[in-house]
């Protein structure tokens, strides 16, 4: 850090922000600005690099901008499954913003919150900074933020946006008893930035941010919205990203027996002809998580289509159904062979 400051001084102290790697490791800053990750107009500091995922989590149509900062001289290590192994000092950043009109997602963006996952010596820490009075301030207990936009149908849409509290961060980012990143897996980064050009995995390796990338055999999670990809691969990618972090043997929903990670192979654990365990009214009167060939008889679809607490899945992180996501899962279940044996 001192060396970086010195370098800046020698360069004539450009007005660029400098990332406070020491502060990131040491304490939960009350204001996002304290960490120096962005300048006043929201541009990332040097070294704060954008990345995109092939299939992202649905968050009420929020536009999400992801960045990673690695301490100078360090790099992530390749892992074929799960998130890449990021060194201590890493910060993963996700900024949430809503466009004034959902049909023009790049225009008139109103920032709402910025979430940080900081890799400290004792493990990962999740912090959320909420826009209040012109600055992003730390909110541990979460917050409801009313957001008014024009919806995809051209009508005004009121979104009851919920910033998660610190415990909710962990509920999703849970691996056993620790916190872990979810999004930046090799499979989900094995696409070009913004879906174009060379794979980000290859770019990261080439720019010294990644170690150990094999020459072949790197998995690729399908883009959920790419009609050129096979339907099942898109559906499994969607479920992996939107459900698989909790519905995992080490996740918050481990007790459900429903496991939706990208590598799950047992039909019963994927929900095929699986009866509910503790769904209560979440079952919607349906008998199986997935009834092959019949989305209307599948609990999975019922819970994705609901916005009622106690029924809806995920349990938080959205306040409205994701129409396109539901359509994808419906199409996938419809295409399943109803006569296939349970397993």
């Amino acid at each position: 850090m001192r060396r970086a400051l010195l370098a800046l001084l020698l360069l004539g102290a450009a007005p660029q922000p400098a990332v406070r790697g020491d502060l990131l490791l040491a304490s939960d800053a009350p204001r996002l600005a304290d960490y120096g990750l962005f300048d006043a107009s929201g541009n990332p500091a040097p070294g704060v690099a954008p990345y995109t995922l092939g299939t992202p989590l649905f968050s009420d149509h929020a536009e999400k901008f992801r960045y990673v900062w690695l301490p100078p001289g360090t790099r992530a290590s390749y892992r074929a499954s799960g998130a890449l192994a990021f060194p201590v000092g890493t910060v993963l950043i996700k900024r949430f913003a809503f466009p004034a009109d959902l049909r023009q997602p790049a225009r008139d963006l109103r920032p709402v919150e910025t979430r940080l996952l900081i890799h400290r010596a004792t493990g990962w820490v999740a912090l959320s900074y909420v826009e209040e009075g012109g600055e992003a301030v730390l909110k541990r207990a979460g917050k409801r933020v009313p957001v008014n936009v024009i919806g995809q149908d051209g009508q005004p849409l009121a979104i009851d946006y919920a910033v998660p509290n610190q415990n909710q961060c962990k509920q999703c980012h849970q691996a056993g008893e620790a916190i872990t990143p979810i999004g930046p897996t090799a499979g989900n980064l094995n696409h070009g930035l913004n879906g174009a050009g060379q794979s980000q995995m290859v770019q990261w390796q080439a720019t010294g941010r990644l170690d150990g990338l094999p020459a072949t055999g790197v998995p690729q999670l399908a883009r959920w919205d790419d009609p050129k990809q096979p339907l099942a691969a898109r559906a499994r990618a969607y479920l992996a990203v939107n459900c698989g972090h909790c519905h995992d043997r080490a996740g918050f929903a481990s007790n459900s027996g429903l496991y939706l990670g990208p590598e799950e192979a047992t039909p019963a654990h994927l929900g095929i002809l699986k009866r509910p365990v503790a769904a209560g009214r979440g079952s919607g009167g349906r008998e199986f998580s997935i009834q092959p060939g019949n989305p209307d008889a599948s609990i999975l679809v019922h819970r994705m289509e609901s916005s009622e607490p106690g029924i809806m899945m995920p349990q938080f992180g959205r306040s409205m159904p994701h129409r396109e996501g539901v359509a994808l899962i419906r199409a996938w279940i419809s295409a399943m062979d109803p006569a296939a044996p349970a397993g």
Binding site: D160, A278, G280
Partner: protein
């Protein structure tokens, strides 16, 4: 979860001793504006050993609350005085979620949670004491599933609590071990008290009344923890559990016939002793194999070594609601005897050879019947009822030992 150290355990004990260490803080939260954020902030900022005192009053909460700090006590001023009101809940599947160890929640009420009332997930040491969870609009299929819901937990105590209106089980302990449910009351739920996929559990001195089923001991397939066993159901009053079953179809409890007192499914080494089982119109005690088809090769659907003895059975069995029940009752003189076993002793998992019961099914010291269904999957309408032999349990008089001991520190904070 962060593990409590020996030093912290010592601090808890000092905190309860006059003139002891001041290490444990008392954090007070009162009703009023912004209660959601103040409560959740207190729960996040608590340190091990702290007591969070939620003062008397009604707290209208739009989102679920959660605790992830070990060794915390959450304490209200009484189940009718400190009321966490989730009537307008907009998010989360629980009213209060606990994901840490050695936690006591006591002396408060939870009303109308959208999903479950209080859930613990993965807790080692969780005590829910003198809690009221109630859906105040009465029993409805749109009520939340479970009132008190420890799951994947260890060293579980539910004591002196009350649950009314749950659309699944009032008190439900799932995939857990070392469990005591005692001195609690469950009424007008689909199931009163349910122990599922758990081992080493004691359900003692409770009242289960006016549920569709009083006390259930179940085991289900395709779950991370299965093989339910070593469950004692003792000294409970299981009375008039004739409520209509209002569970959403699809759930396993939706298949529990209204009028069931105590039901044991696919568990082994279960003792039903010294209960008063009165006025349940269906089976006083029903012992059955898992009722559905399954494909899990690691799962055993059969109940084994279920002992029913020393109970006070009165006025049960007049109107069994399960398919074929009326005909079976008629065939044995109009009223079912206190104990009924489905008599299933064989099952086949697809792709494997037929398996048979390794040890005996049911022993009872009162009259009972077996339906002699034989093979798993045979419906009750194919029953060929015959009497069960009456077993003399002789000198097997149980003592005060309920077979489960909880950590002394947890018990001390729960007194």
């Amino acid at each position: 979860m962060r593990k409590a150290t020996g030093a912290l355990l010592a601090a808890y004990i000092f905190a309860g001793t006059p003139g002891g260490s001041a290490a444990a803080r008392m954090i007070h939260v009162g009703p009023g504006d912004n209660a959601q954020e103040r409560l959740q902030t207190a729960l996040i900022e608590a340190a091990p050993g702290d007591i969070i005192h939620i003062a008397a009053g009604r707290y209208a909460l739009a989102d679920g609350l959660s605790l992830d700090v070990d060794g915390v006590t959450i304490r209200g001023d009484g189940p009718e005085r400190t009321i966490l009101d989730f009537t307008a809940q907009k998010g989360e599947g629980e009213g209060l979620l606990i994901t840490s160890d050695n936690v006591v929640v006591r002396d408060l009420g939870v009303e109308n949670p959208a999903g479950n009332g209080i859930k613990s997930k993965g807790s080692d040491g969780i005590a829910l004491v003198n809690i009221r969870v109630e859906w105040t609009g009465g029993p409805k299929s749109t009520n939340g599933a479970y009132g008190l819901y420890p799951v994947s937990s260890k060293n579980v105590l539910i004591d002196r609590s009350f649950v009314r209106g749950a659309s699944d089980a009032g008190i439900y302990v799932g995939q857990s071990q070392n469990i005591i449910v005692r001195r609690s009351r469950a009424e007008m739920n689909v199931a009163g008290i349910e122990i599922e996929n758990s081992h080493d559990a004691a359900v003692v001195g409770n009242i289960a009344t006016n549920n569709a089923g009083g006390i259930l001991v179940f085991d289900l397939p395709d779950l991370p923890q299965q093989g339910g066993r070593n469950v004692k159901v003792s000294g409970n009053q299981v009375v008039g559990n004739n409520h209509v079953n209002f569970a959403a179809p699809g759930n396993i409890v939706a298949g529990v016939p209204s009028g069931t007192g105590i039901m044991v499914m696919a568990n082994r080494n279960v003792s039903v002793w010294g209960n008063q089982v009165i006025g349940n119109n269906g089976n006083a005690v029903m012992v059955v194999a898992y009722t559905q088809a399954f494909t899990d090769k690691a799962y055993n659907p059969l109940p084994q070594a279920v002992d029913v003895w020393g109970n006070d059975f009165r006025g049960n069995g007049s109107a069994p609601a399960f398919p074929g029940g009326k005909q079976i009752a008629a065939a044995v003189g109009g009223t079912l005897p206190p104990v009924m076993w489905d008599g299933i002793t064989r099952y086949t998992v697809p792709g494997t050879a037929e398996a048979r019961m390794a040890s005996g099914g049911v022993r009872s010291d009162v009259p009972g019947i077996t339906l002699n269904l034989g093979t798993h999957g045979t419906p009750a309408t194919a029953a060929r009822p015959s009497p069960l032999p009456v077993t003399d349990f002789g000198k097997l008089v149980p003592g005060a030992d309920i077979g489960v001991t909880l950590p002394a520190e947890l018990e001390a904070r729960s007194r």
